[in-house]
């Protein structure tokens, strides 16, 4: 009986540690996304990117809450494993067992069938594929690179949208995270439209002002002025930021 209990507690511990790794990975990704959206917001000064930043901050707060709950549960499980190994139970520990029972039930129901389990604080609601982990790492590394034009920003935002859409599918509707990645995805799509428009402006300006490919600059003088007024600076990290 005791060995079965220890085994069960160890399984909870493993899942909690696994969840913690995932929460950290999500946190790092959110920070990268937040950094990119911050730069775009500074450049475009639009409402969409402002709201998107707020949503990302909310997600970071929720992740932090989950991490705290995860660490608390992990500490409890570790202690209970030690106590169980030394066979020194007492009735006062029942309170902690009842807290872990929800975790245990969720793990048994969800993880074993490979589907999203019942959302419990501190536990990732499902097993996450390795490919997704690689995608997150890839995008985090690419976020370190400074982008030099709006075309590259269009591609970066498209990568973020694909990844956020994958994350949306991971969380059941009743999970605390569920609505946040959804709204971030919608807001990123709106930001993407603005970035695509900036890319078009940049490309058109380049062609209209390139004297080699264009021999009729005078006709497009007004268009060049309109484009220059609408074109926002490329988001880059300045000294003041």
């Amino acid at each position: 009986m005791n060995s079965e209990l220890i085994e069960r507690l160890k399984s909870i511990e493993i899942r909690l540690k696994e969840s913690n790794t995932w929460f950290r990975l999500l946190e790092n990704y959110c920070k990268s996304l937040s950094h990119d959206v911050f730069l775009i917001n500074m450049s475009l000064e639009d409402e969409c990117s402002t709201i998107c930043r707020i949503q990302i901050d909310s997600w970071l707060c929720e992740i932090e809450k989950q991490q705290t709950r995860n660490l608390k549960s992990d500490a409890i499980v570790s202690k209970l494993i030690t106590i169980s190994t030394e066979d020194c139970f007492n009735e006062e520990l029942n309170h902690y067992f009842s807290r872990l029972s929800e975790l245990d039930a969720s793990i048994q129901d969800g993880y074993q069938s490979g589907r999203a389990n019942r959302p419990v604080d501190g536990l990732m609601p499902c097993i996450i594929e390795e490919n997704l982990e690689k995608d997150i790492c890839k995008i985090e590394i690419s976020c370190l690179r400074t982008l030099s034009n709006w075309k590259e920003w269009t591609e970066r935002i498209a990568e973020h949208i694909i990844l956020v859409n994958k994350l949306v599918t991971l969380f059941p509707a009743s999970h605390q995270f569920s609505s946040i990645p959804c709204s971030i995805s919608i807001l990123l799509s709106q930001i993407s439209k603005l970035v695509v428009e900036q890319n078009k402006l940049e490309k058109t300006l380049e062609i209209l002002t390139n004297s080699i490919t264009n021999s009729h600059e005078a006709i497009f003088g007004l268009d060049v002025l309109i484009i220059m007024e609408k074109l926002c600076p490329i988001p880059i990290i300045g000294d003041e930021q």
Binding site: E197, K200, L201, T204, I207, T213, I227
Partner: protein, 95 residues
């Protein structure tokens, strides 16, 4: 979205027609008609051929950039200019 290829061939056709008219008017040398014919030729050049030339140059740039890659703020202006040239080069011209 405007069919730029169709518009281009239509504009080239119109330009050719109006150039031929202008050439004919320039060649009028009878004392009674000369001044009126030359004035009319100049007006056709300014009001019809020139906007057609601008529209053709716009279409050249659009082809260079790519139809779907024009910023909306510019696309609207350019489409208006092309449509205006098409209309003025056709039957809607007023002298």
């Amino acid at each position: 979205m405007l069919d730029y290829n169709a518009a281009k061939s239509q504009l080239l056709q119109m330009k050719q027609t109006h150039l031929e008219v202008c050439q004919f008017l320039e060649e009028v040398d009878t004392e009674f008609h000369e001044n009126a014919a030359k004035t009319l030729a100049t007006r056709i050049e300014n009001l019809v051929i020139e906007p057609i030339d601008i529209a053709l140059k716009i279409i050249d740039v659009i082809e260079m950039i790519g139809g779907g890659q024009i910023p909306s703020v510019i696309s609207l202006r350019w489409n208006q200019q092309i449509l205006q040239a098409l209309n003025n080069g056709g039957v809607q011209i007023e002298f």
